[in-house]
């Protein structure tokens, strides 16, 4: 039996008020923790996937769309660019590495990416089982694709035209799974990689496929189109020169992932700000509610507190008794809120359709510790004035009067 048990027993006695206050705090903290976690994870993902990519060159259109489609594999591509022009750029002296991408098909929502070996160098890919694709129509699949679509090495499947859905299936050619990648923790877990030739093959007219030699094929590729080119510079100096050169002297556009992600984040930021204020508003209501319930309870508890004073408790002891009650409510609320936030985010993640940016509630961010502190602070502020009443209570008058 001590101050803490007295406080908690009193809270248990006033169950409904206590629960209401805890829920209010929990909701405020829960929303804030979801925001913290989600913006942190999205930020991390954006950063991780664009890590070594300095520039994306693609067809003219929205630069953000170009970045989203060719780095994050979320949006639709802006269009195609002539492969010839792209390879010309790739051999520019400022370019250290250029990765061609040919998009357009999917398998059960996983995008099939036609590219070459530079892609695996760019993302530092390594193989878990099997090997990289060698010939046309051979694919290497990301770890998530393997685990969720149950594809194994040696399996074959048909790709579908478009980036989502199974509407228009390319029945004439089947892909063959040659290898599975190790989990990378980035977008490549969700991709199906193959060579560019396979993608061309899918979209050729049927009669062409029978008669071309490897040499003709290489030439053929040069006459064809690709979707985008991921570029890594030799030196940071090129940041200014190269994009301008592309935008002015070619028919293509260059988009910087860093700039576009920042723009995207500032767009999302408005929503996050609104939600943040909403959460702060809920927390303020929680504080007010705790204040009102403690303050009202003081009318009744005046007797209890006067009795405790009579039994020998000092004013400061009782001051802490009341303070502790408020703080206990917000502390429980804050912890519950964090739990709700994590569970909610995990549930959101489980129902999310785009496998590319899946959210999870199983990680924590350091800012969450602040949420607990904020909870404690709100409890302290809300119970300060009620607790001050202790110093005003006239014990003699209170106890002599009838209830």
């Amino acid at each position: 039996m001590n101050i803490f048990t007295i406080s908690s027993k009193n809270l248990v006695r006033n169950k409904l008020t206590t629960i209401l206050n805890i829920i209010l705090v929990a909701f405020g903290v829960g929303i804030l923790s979801i925001l913290f976690l989600a913006s942190n994870q999205i930020g991390n993902k954006l950063e991780k996937n664009a890590k070594d990519i300095d520039l994306v060159v693609g067809a003219k259109g929205s630069p953000l769309q170009l970045i989203l489609s060719s780095i994050y594999h979320i949006d639709y591509p802006t269009g195609n660019i002539p492969a010839k022009d792209a390879y010309q750029l790739a051999h520019n002296p400022m370019v250290k590495r250029a990765v061609p991408l040919a998009l357009g098909d999917n398998y059960n929502g996983y995008r099939i990416v036609g590219t070459d070996t530079t892609f695996s160098h760019l993302y530092g890919l390594s193989i878990q089982r099997g090997g990289f694709w060698q010939k046309d129509l051979e694919v290497t699949i990301g770890s998530t694709v393997a685990s969720e679509s149950k594809l194994k090495i040696g399996d074959s499947f048909f790709g579908a035209h478009g980036l989502t859905g199974n509407g228009d299936i390319h029945k004439q050619h089947a892909y063959l799974v040659k290898g599975i990648l190790k989990p990378q923790g980035n977008i490549t877990d969700n991709l199906i990689l193959t060579n560019i030739g396979s993608v061309y093959k899918m979209h050729e007219e049927k009669h062409e496929e029978s008669h071309h030699s490897p040499a003709a094929e290489a030439k053929e590729i040069n006459d064809k189109q690709i979707t985008a080119l991921l570029i890594q510079y030799k030196s940071p100096m090129s940041v200014i020169l190269f994009p301008r050169m592309v935008n002015q002297s070619t028919n293509m556009q260059a988009a910087s992932p860093a700039m576009e992600s920042a723009r995207l984040f500032s767009l999302i930021g408005v929503g996050i700000d609104t939600l943040q204020w909403f959460a702060v508003f809920i927390m303020a209501i929680a504080a007010l509610s705790i204040f009102i319930s403690l303050y009202n309870a003081m009318k009744e508890r005046k007797y209890d507190l006067a009795v405790m004073r009579c039994l020998g408790a000092s004013k400061s002891k009782l001051f802490f008794l009341v303070m502790f009650e408020g703080i206990l409510v917000t502390l429980i609320g804050a912890c519950l809120g964090l739990l709700i936030g994590h569970i909610a985010l995990e549930v959101i993640g489980a129902y999310q359709e785009s496998s590319q940016a899946k959210l999870t509630g199983l990680t924590a961010v350091p800012q969450e510790v602040y949420l607990i502190w904020i909870g404690l602070f709100i409890g302290a502020v809300a119970s300060l004035i009620p607790a001050m009443q202790i110093y005003k209570v006239d014990i003699a008058a209170t106890l002599t009067k009838d209830r």
Partner: protein
């Protein structure tokens, strides 16, 4: 053990009450009589250290209690004075046994559960140890508050109109309990009352 010298108190409204000098020896039992509104409760509050008198001094065990700091005064009251109010004033969120333990905790003394159970047994309410105040009758509540006043083995037991809200049977029992418990615990006893039913049980009277 208690010495009251030239004590007087002025109320906020300006009314002044002068209290006759009073000396109470160890384990003496006194009745504090007077019509309602003549200052009985005021005097009890002064003796309990809850209300600072305007003039005069009060010594308990040769300590002038109004020389103590507020914190020490609270502690002194908790350890040496047991108070029984007109209304029982139990903490409603705690059960009977916890209410008794609270008295020890608030006075900063260790909890002596054996003694608490013994007190409940002597007062005939051992069966109510785990019940909450809301579930008890007035008579039972008043017994619990007597037990609570005795928890810390006080030197002085003060009861303010302990019988006013009780029927004859309960009133007689509570008075009997108070006198015998005060004796058994070696405490002096002051009962303030205007209740005729109490007068027969205690010889010494102090009239206001």
């Amino acid at each position: 053990m208690i010495n009251i010298k030239s004590l007087s108190h002025v109320y906020e409204q300006g009314r002044r009450i002068k209290f006759p000098d009073w000396e109470i020896a160890d384990m003496e039992q006194w009745l504090l009589l007077g019509a309602s509104g003549c200052g009985k409760s005021t005097l009890l509050n002064i003796i309990s250290g809850l209300l600072k008198p305007t003039h005069g001094e009060i010594l308990i065990n040769n300590t002038n209690i109004y020389d103590l700091t507020a914190r020490n005064m609270d502690r002194f009251r908790g350890r040496h004075i047991g108070i029984i109010f007109q209304r029982p004033h139990l903490i409603r969120s705690l059960n009977v046994l916890d209410n008794l333990e609270l008295a020890a905790v608030m006075a900063g003394l260790p909890i002596d559960q054996e003694r608490n159970l013994l007190l409940l047994k002597e007062l005939g309410i051992i069966g109510l140890a785990k019940r909450y105040p809301d579930e008890l009758s007035q008579g039972q509540l008043q017994r619990v508050s007597v037990a609570r006043a005795l928890v810390n083995k006080p030197d002085l037991l003060i009861a303010d109109e302990p019988t006013s809200s009780l029927d004859d049977e309960n009133a007689a029992q509570v008075i009997k309990m108070l006198t015998s418990q005060a004796k058994d615990n070696g405490a002096a006893l002051i009962i303030a009352t205007h209740d005729q039913r109490v007068r027969d049980h205690i010889a010494k009277t102090y009239l206001l």
